[in-house]
Symmetry: C2
Subunit: 420 residues, 2 copies
């Protein structure tokens, strides 16, 4: 394996890794901009822009963009998250140049035709509808809103329908100007690739892009709060969030370790107690969602309408219990799972391309695998228990419940039970 990072004068970066034995490659551009780089009036524009990129450039129609990749059997897609927008493709070896050329074109030369903007509003309004009809999507949006009220990080990625109905070409251009600066763009390519060729191609496409004044990120502030929506669904959905670690925080890996022991797999405490012993849920998990400056330790479960109190109490009780009696073997298992997951993820070119881009975006470099493994190995039982203890004693909980709820705990109930 050989990783290479090249930085152009304007800050645009290329990171690649050749993987022997592969006939294909995953390539893409990761932009360090997403939902949290929007102000309230812009909310939804990062995602709208991701859609509009595919609607045509000065060189290609929408159909030509799709055909150019699909004619050679590849696929091209994109996503928008709160901190990142990514445009990526998977193609065979001989089509890597073509894929980068298309992705470069849709990022640099979009035309934002008026008619296309109108059509795409309709598509995104349908996407919003789909999300609203998916209870275990919508509850996470509400949870995020409770955890970061009146902040960009607390708003949805799709944005409200009202914004989507009004975005204009100027709005799109302004967001690009503020956020798609070359020093926030990372080209990542993994698989059957040649680093030098890609750098040369990237030079022609991106090295001349000027930098403008970048958007200044506002530090996010966690808050407690609760949103309860009673609706005639089959399942009641319960989501809790506690203030966790950002990915730059020293205790990031302790947080990951705790999340894994608490609700990361079939042997985790929540799965064993809530599903295996009590049969209350089909889906239950805990995870640490990290951002640049903050993070959320999130717990989700779907249960029956009359089990919401029981479920909420168990989650709180298990959290408190973990801070006292989490065992050495549970922490060891979590460390092994993280390390094995890392190794297995490296066997996929697309997962690896994503990982390289994220690492460069966060650290400005690709930390050697051994460095990450060492950080995981450094997490011990004491730190993991202390992490659970901090979560529980913080006393502030963000919460959302949704469904045919007959009875549920108030925010006070939950916070009191947690700190008692």
């Amino acid at each position: 394996m050989s990783q290479n990072l090249h930085t152009f004068e304007n800050g645009f970066r290329v990171v690649t890794e050749y993987m022997p034995g592969l006939e294909s490659a995953s390539v893409g551009i990761w932009v360090n901009a997403g939902g949290r780089h929007e102000n309230i009036k812009q909310n939804g524009i990062a995602h709208f822009l991701e859609h509009m990129a595919f609607k045509g450039t000065r060189n290609r129609t929408a159909l030509q963009i799709a055909e150019e990749i699909e004619d050679v059997g590849g696929y091209i897609n994109a996503y928008t998250s709160r901190e990142v927008t990514a445009y990526y493709a998977r193609v065979l070896r001989e089509d890597v140049f073509r894929a980068i050329d298309v992705i470069g074109d849709i990022l640099i030369n979009p035309i934002f035709d008026k008619k296309d903007i109108e059509v795409e509003r309709g598509v995104i309004l349908q996407e919003i509808g789909m999300s609203l009809d998916t209870p275990d999507d919508v509850i996470f949006d509400w949870l995020q809103e409770q955890a970061y009220p009146q902040q960009a990080l607390g708003r949805t990625i799709l944005g409200p329908a009202g914004n989507v109905s009004n975005f204009s070409k100027d709005d799109l251009s302004l967001f690009i100007k503020e956020n798609y600066n070359p020093n926030k763009l990372i080209l990542s390519a993994v698989g059957a690739i040649d680093h030098d060729k890609i750098v040369k191609q990237a030079e022609g496409l991106f090295a001349m892009l000027p930098n403008a004044t970048p958007f200044q990120l506002v530090k996010a502030k966690f808050s407690n709060g609760i949103k309860k929506v009673v609706k005639d669904l089959e399942q009641a959905h319960v989501a809790l969030a506690l203030e966790g670690s950002g990915y730059l925080d020293k205790d990031f890996y302790a947080g990951q370790t705790f999340a894994s022991t608490f609700g990361g797999g079939m042997s985790s405490r929540l799965f064993q107690e809530v599903r295996e012993n009590r049969g209350l849920c089909y889906s239950i998990f805990a995870q640490l969602s990290s951002y640049a400056d903050t993070g959320l330790l999130t717990i989700y479960a779907g249960t029956s309408g009359d089990s919401v109190c029981e479920l909420t109490d168990i989650i709180v009780d298990e959290l408190k219990r973990a801070s006292g009696d989490l065992s050495e073997s549970e922490v060891a298992r979590a460390r092994t799972q993280m390390k094995a997951g890392l190794l297995m993820g490296l066997e996929s070119s697309s997962a690896r391309a994503e990982r390289l881009a994220r690492l460069v975006g966060i650290w400005g470099r690709v930390p050697p695998l051994a460095e990450t493994v060492e950080k995981i190995d450094d997490v011990n039982l004491e730190q993991t228990r202390a992490y659970a203890e901090r979560l529980a004693s913080n006393g502030r909980v963000a919460m959302a419940t949704y469904g045919p709820i007959t009875e549920s705990r108030s925010l006070n109930d939950v916070q009191k039970r947690m700190t008692d």
Copy 2:
């Protein structure tokens, strides 16, 4: 790459493939039994059994099953489809023996403890609730029911809540006896594995299993029909199914080719007309779902409640149009997409393990890649147009619509428009 297939005297088969350069392996057992092997009273038992396998054996508790795999950083999971039930794991090289031992144990030695059955009913009832709350899940169940009414293939995999509430240990044992015969079990292992070692291990676990009288599959019969459910959702969901090919049929690849041109990607006709030109949908696609003796060419889209008629008409019109003016370049693109998809899929050990098991289950052997590529290359424009023509002229449509529908087409409307 080296594939090996070994068949024991009792019919149990082991298929493996060593992939150089990997540190992990995907292993599992694919059982050629699923939802369509149930009678009406048994409906849901194949899936219930898949759950119960993880609840404990004569050698391991549920927690021990989970820990044994997760302690070494692996994961273990299972799924039930209409024709197949699979139990699989991904582990590092040194844990392949362990993973096969655990999977063998949960298949051969489950105990079906009474208390565990009670608990697992609750879990599966939650899973059913989750599915009912997911409109684009439930509509496919309704579509399947319309296409194969009063037949095992038309029933849901999870089964009705009434059945799930009543299954007993005897029901589970009977389904195993009827369906988990060694000649219907295939052990597939791909990645950092050693064929001879796996055969030796499999011999100890599976070579002594007796065969019983197997369940006789009833040939499925496609029917037309419509189910419309008006509900206050954000989106209206529309699904159509036409009688397509089984995977043993001569025109299977013509069907796959047509599905790809019609609604398989961004350059497909439905995506271009419905999403790119009209902005009616976020999600729209067509696919061929094949079974042993039949298949469904399925079209799905989510749209607004007042666009259901427009959307339905476009789908029908595009299908008729395709039979007349599908182009050489569209068919060529579909062939290339299938071949490239095949190659890219081979780069993942889990996708490859699944593929080997399915091929052995269907054909009793692993056809060389060149054979599959040849079959794809053999599909020409004439055959693909003829496939569309057959679909349209058949005149029988299964259909389901769900959501805030203001106006919609009757089955007669749709069938008449299609054959007119």
